[in-house]
Symmetry: C2
């Protein structure tokens, strides 16, 4: 019997009208579906290229350059890497961005004062406080201290309230990245079954909120799917059953290989938000998602890779949020 390798096609949206999933028959005659890989890296580049043009036009029209401030407290290396990536992306698209670094000795009261200064600074459009914050800082209080209209992370309680009421708002970048991928890759969600695995307030919850909401509402973010929210207390056999009944599975748990091939309906779309750093058998460090990619990609219709899936899209959507904030602030300025 001839051994066939799964045939994975990397596509970006530029190719989406020509690319389709193929099936072929192995020597026993059973049809196999090869997943289309939803290339987040390529899509993120497309979105950043679009943004670059839009921002350039915006500035050419006489508006000030959109401006982002990233606050980072302490010396967590992963957080510093994330912030560097964001600053680089901002520069790539024409957003003026600066990191404001503080020692972990910074006290909450002083951080609140710094944020207040940025809130009042008319030059600044977007404020991002990199989480997690060290020690005993109250992250919720910090998130709520950022002016909602400059809150490019979408973590402020008013932005969360707006999202949950289907109102126009700033959406947390990772959640928006998932929705944008579904839209740009033209994954049908209307009346489809979607399962969201993970109920975090920054990722799982807002994704579930947009996925189940009405498309006709003001936010333009509704997807009209039937949505099931699974989490750590969902029994394994129910997780399997619910996922197998889903047209779309979105997972954001940080548990490697949680989602296996037997849990996926043939042809379903699998979006992997998980990112975990593991050491493989050869002693090499690598990033993996929640999905057993090698096996699931033989069953799924569409699948995001890790790395190169939702991760780069998150950074692109943060830039989208920053430009959106700049535009809204300018509109408000003109109105007053």
């Amino acid at each position: 019997m001839m051994k066939l390798m799964p045939c994975l096609k990397i596509v970006s949206t530029n190719l989406r009208f020509t690319m389709r999933s193929h099936s072929y028959f192995d020597s026993l005659g059973s049809a196999r579906i090869m997943a289309q890989i939803l290339d987040g890296k390529a899509l993120a580049k497309e979105i950043k290229d679009e943004l670059k043009i839009k921002i350039n036009n915006w500035v050419t029209l006489g508006n000030k350059t959109p401006t982002l401030r990233c606050i980072i407290v302490g010396d967590d290396p992963a957080s510093h890497t994330y912030v560097r990536n964001k600053i680089q992306a901002a520069k790539d698209v024409g957003i003026s961005a600066e990191t404001m670094k503080y020692n972990s000795t910074l006290i909450q009261e002083d951080l609140l004062k710094i944020i207040d200064g940025l809130n009042k600074d008319k030059e600044v459009d977007g404020i991002l406080v990199q989480l997690p914050l060290p020690g005993d800082m109250d992250e919720r209080k910090i998130c709520n201290a950022v002016a909602p209209e400059k809150d490019v992370d979408g973590f402020h309680i008013i932005n969360v309230g707006q999202l949950c009421l289907d109102m126009p708002t700033i959406v947390p970048a990772t959640a928006l990245a998932v929705i944008e991928m579904l839209k740009r890759f033209k994954i049908d969600t209307f009346g489809r079954n979607a399962v969201v695995v993970g109920r975090s307030k920054n990722v799982g919850m807002p994704i579930a909120m947009m996925l189940h909401s009405d498309m006709r509402h003001d936010s333009g973010l509704g997807m009209d799917a039937t949505v099931t929210i699974c989490h750590r207390y969902t029994p394994a056999e129910q997780l399997e059953k619910l996922c197998r009944n889903a047209d779309i599975v979105i997972t954001a748990t940080g548990i490697p290989k949680l989602i296996k091939a037997n849990m996926i309906k043939p042809g379903a779309t699998v979006i992997d938000v998980g990112i975990t750093r593991i050491v493989d058998e050869q002693g090499n460090t690598k990033l993996v998602g929640d999905v057993d990619f090698d096996e699931v990609s033989k069953i799924a219709g569409n699948i995001t890779p890790v790395p190169g899936g939702v991760g780069p899209m998150t950074v692109a959507m943060l830039m989208h949020n920053t430009f959106q904030a700049a535009q809204k602030l300018r509109e408000a300025e003109i109105e007053n």
Copy 2:
């Protein structure tokens, strides 16, 4: 063959430790389960009796009487009935309540001024604006005009944001009524499958939010269930399949007999939030829920009736919200 009538037991929580569902065998030997009826009317009375004692103690300790103002605009008869019921319940528990009636000619700007006056009035603890509002009023703007700490309907965007972030908040009364019924009737939700049918922002959405959330969080409202949100675009066969896999089905659609016996897992709990006024074959007007009660009650383990289920509980939870608001306002007053 002897014809057996379904044996329905009306229980309130006072009886919950002694009452159990019974099964019996019909003449063909097949087991039948008779649903326990979750008597919302009796439970609402218990809760109001508890509240009456608490409020009496509160006032005896020297605090002012909790005070509620219900604003009603226009002459919709159903709205006037609802408001009368709320005022009566308030009086029953020792809350000082008044209706403020306005003609439908009232303009939005004047309504905003009235609300602002109540926000500033230290005598007033709870403000309720009966919906729907007539004509071209912006209900979202009106809901957001009520001070969040006096918003006993839980419709203010900050209260919605707090709910969705598992923070202590004021929860919309109908949604809270459903959660309170599950708790008081000791329906197990941890790791269970729940289906919420209907995605309204005042009922379905907040119920789904509490049901899927973490029990350990500050709000104390999390239920740790796996939750599926179904709605008008969920295909009928998927609605049936998902409901049949659920331990708990909560429906809030206003579509009579949407939920039929073949959609319910034997022994499941069915909570019916729907209330529709229909005219029966004899020409009599009656209230019905979303559930085909006569048939479903032969299959379900627990079921709420309509009327007498969630409806009376909603009014009781509104009183709970009003007393909670009064207590929080007093705490804040002492702190300042």
